[in-house]
Symmetry: C2
Subunit: 332 residues, 2 copies
Amino acid sequence: MTAATPIGEFEIIERFFASLGARRGDVVLGVGDDGAILTPRAGCELVVVTDTLIEGRHFPAASPPASVGHRALAVNLSDIAAMGAEPAWALLALTLPRADPAWLAEFARGFGTLAQSAGVALVGGDTTSGPLSMTVTVLGQLPAGTALRRNGARAGDVLFVSGTPGDAARGLQHDIMAQAGTASIAGDAATRVDALRQRFRYPMPRLQLGMGLRGIASACIDVSDGLAADAGKIAAASGCGVSIDVQSLPLSTALLQDAGEAQARDLALCGGDDYELCFAVPAAQLALLAQRLPVAAHPYQRIGVMTAAPGMQLHVAGQRIELPVTGFDHFR
Amino acid sequence: MTAATPIGEFEIIERFFASLGARRGDVVLGVGDDGAILTPRAGCELVVVTDTLIEGRHFPAASPPASVGHRALAVNLSDIAAMGAEPAWALLALTLPRADPAWLAEFARGFGTLAQSAGVALVGGDTTSGPLSMTVTVLGQLPAGTALRRNGARAGDVLFVSGTPGDAARGLQHDIMAQAGTASIAGDAATRVDALRQRFRYPMPRLQLGMGLRGIASACIDVSDGLAADAGKIAAASGCGVSIDVQSLPLSTALLQDAGEAQARDLALCGGDDYELCFAVPAAQLALLAQRLPVAAHPYQRIGVMTAAPGMQLHVAGQRIELPVTGFDHFR
């Protein structure tokens, strides 16, 4: 953050956050009072999620502020997507070391552009002074009884993942190398690296896919801690196991060319920060899946199957292999 | 926080936060999935609030963890009260420097005891590693169209405040003096100081009062930044002014005896951290106020009147005085 004329807390809210994101007719009262007043849709259940991002932990220090704003909302929208809900309203609790208008404008642009495209209105929040971090809460809605959960998978269900996991983790590695000054890349390689870095900086939550999976998927989770760890959570919550065919992982060309096949697979399994959806579908629903959610419109790929035996099995060419590392835990 | 055996992120959630607060039939799915699933009451609007507390900024370092847990929820419930809503569900985003089970148990006890008494279920959250801070989001409900706002006051409306403002600010001063080792107090004075410190550590949000004021108050705000600053916000939002009779401020005996009258008034006007309600009532509603909310059950006092002329006037024995200091702004 660069030095700039300091501005006050109320001016920050007024200038940058008073009317961010989509205009929605169901917002009776937005930013500016003790609380927001919202009209939930009749017959719907609410889905509520919250996630914190801390500088130096969830994103590198000196990240582009537009990326920080985008990610603060995106990681929450990804949780909304994993529940199959339609997002509606967000709250932003922002802690800043100082009030830099240029930084705030870019942060608000990143947050607001994604909010607008997702149909989300920013309706409240809090602004405090301290080490850079932010907690976003998003509220979504869905018809009662249709939410996707982690615990509904059964042995025999087919496991899928959306997008190309591993890209974001590789992009973050490049971000860190670039900051350390150890990277010197040009030409096609630089284009690939830029593409991978964008995947970390601007993940796109799979909202349409999540909503489309209602009534089809038996379980769903968003991939934030690494595909293997998150698939394992579906298995554990569902009281079954999971077998993943590592050769079927959807690896991007950029990742394969940049990292090589072995490391690309490790990153796809264990990298984290993908914000893709991992979901299980019963055999009886596979035809409906293909019909309602054509792969051309919603990229996802079959990567394995739920098993009766608990635990996780990884296979390469029919041979069982061991998981390279485990998922992320903030306190271990 | 004391040293202790470290525990993991998922164990923290499972041990301390999986089922905190009230059991509610409208919680379809609580802690443990990507999001919580909730059933809003038919015909109701939602009220949503969020507030962040940071160690060393919103509460002293080494505060009792039960107080930190209580306050993290209380400051949000106070916002819910100021809107006239009935609280239902909370989310807790907790950032911890380390995972100390003894600290977490006390923090959860403070949070959980207040949640239970307020009928609030903890339904989700996030746990991350970093400097101690927490962002709580609370969702409440009220019949559509009945919310209290800041902007409905009109010239001639009578202004009230609940409780005894200033106590918490004095209690915080004593906390800071005790930590600095400059305090040596015994006997009756010690009892008074303890009482004041408790007012800072365990503020009780005025939920019943807030709900009772629906249909009576023309405007309401919770007093967190200092009574004068917050009354000024009602006036500014309502496009009118406010006149406060300083001699009518409800000062507690403990505050008067401990701080003396002059400082007690300053603290009551500008101290902050009271989490009382300040509200305006049209003359035509005063009889209903007294009938529905008897002062014996819901302590509040008349302290002034809304005026046609904008700005704030403070009076002592008919003489106009100046405000000693202004309200708190995190970035000035």
